[in-house]
Symmetry: C2
Subunit: 205 residues, 2 copies
């Protein structure tokens, strides 16, 4: 089983520009990546990074400078299935949640993300390919259908939550104790509920 | 097993004010409620509405005019456990997702919602009580802990997604074919992905 985790080495987490400096976004993205790869390892699998450039890691790295869709499709063409791909920002991923992807025997297992994204998938079908964008789930359903592949979707909040937006940082602090959560705490972030709703606040260093 | 679905008869779905008129919000909230109660029935259970006033339904209704927290706590005091409570706007709920709540044998089963809410719970412990607000999940974890109740949390995107905000309407159209989805389609809503990202658009009637 190939388990690939695509990682944008250059400009990760641009939607956190208001909350984090460029350097901080790099560090936070790497903490998320560590949490995802650790969860994959603890689930009993061997992750491999599919990175846009060199990256410091203990795991195998394949470098593809192409954008995400092209990089993943190149790998899908070059390797024999089964291949699984998990986004590097699934900061709530647990070994249990990841293993739920491997249980169905369907040709294609899709893990929906919020807003119609595809946060992870597993394919056992040699003709499956991807087309990542905001609403990629519908495309991936259609592609699977067109090639006659059976499809199962995994219902997981942890895997549906990619850590992209400021509100997602709340989820990290609420649901995990991994590297990303530690990084946020060490950098002054905490949850505050004085106003009733949970808010993310940051103390000055 | 008591299975209660709290329902705000008067002013549901206020966060959809820009998208829907007051009358439309009433109709849409009732469509969501139908989807939730249908999923509960198809899961093999008997739902009961906990409503703020009279409501037309084929199910049993208990009327409590208090705000949500007080109403649920009154019922928890009056009934013998086990009692489960599911929010009326879990528009992606399926029988399968609902049944996942009933599998663990823990004293308290919590179903996290996005942003730290509690979208559903099941209690077998006579002392458990609720305190609903934006970040209620943390409180419910603490309450369970304080009364010595064992806790399990259910990892479900479908149950974590309460249909509150405009972006949630996209999820309804993407993941369901129930009454709420039908209502949206009949009222001109559809998904558009011309701009790459999935957008919700509404045609003039």
């Amino acid at each position: 089983m190939n388990i690939l985790v695509p990682f944008d080495v250059q400009t990760p987490k641009t939607r956190l520009k208001k909350q984090l400096s460029s350097e901080e976004r790099q560090a936070f993205a790497r903490a998320l990546l560590r949490d995802v790869t650790t969860a994959v390892v603890e689930a009993g699998h061997t992750p491999e990074l599919l990175a846009t450039g060199p990256v410091e890691t203990q795991h195998a790295v394949t470098i593809k400078e192409e954008p995400l869709t092209g990089a993943v499709n190149t790998v899908l063409q070059q390797r024999s299935p089964p291949t699984a791909v998990l986004m590097a920002d699934l900061g709530l991923a647990t070994p249990h949640a990841i293993n739920r992807m491997f249980k169905p025997t369907a040709d294609v297992v899709l893990v929906p993300g919020r807003s119609g994204g595809t946060n992870a998938f597993l394919t056992r079908h040699p003709e499956f390919y991807v087309n990542y964008h905001g609403g990629s789930l519908r495309d991936h359903r259609r592609i699977a259908n067109r090639i006659g592949a059976s499809v199962v979707e995994i219902d997981s909040f942890r895997l549906a939550t990619d850590i992209d937006d400021p509100a997602d940082l709340i989820e990290v602090l609420l649901h995990t104790n991994g590297a990303a959560s530690q990084w946020l705490k060490e950098n002054g972030f905490r949850l505050d509920s004085d106003a009733g709703e949970l808010q993310l606040v940051r103390s000055q260093k």
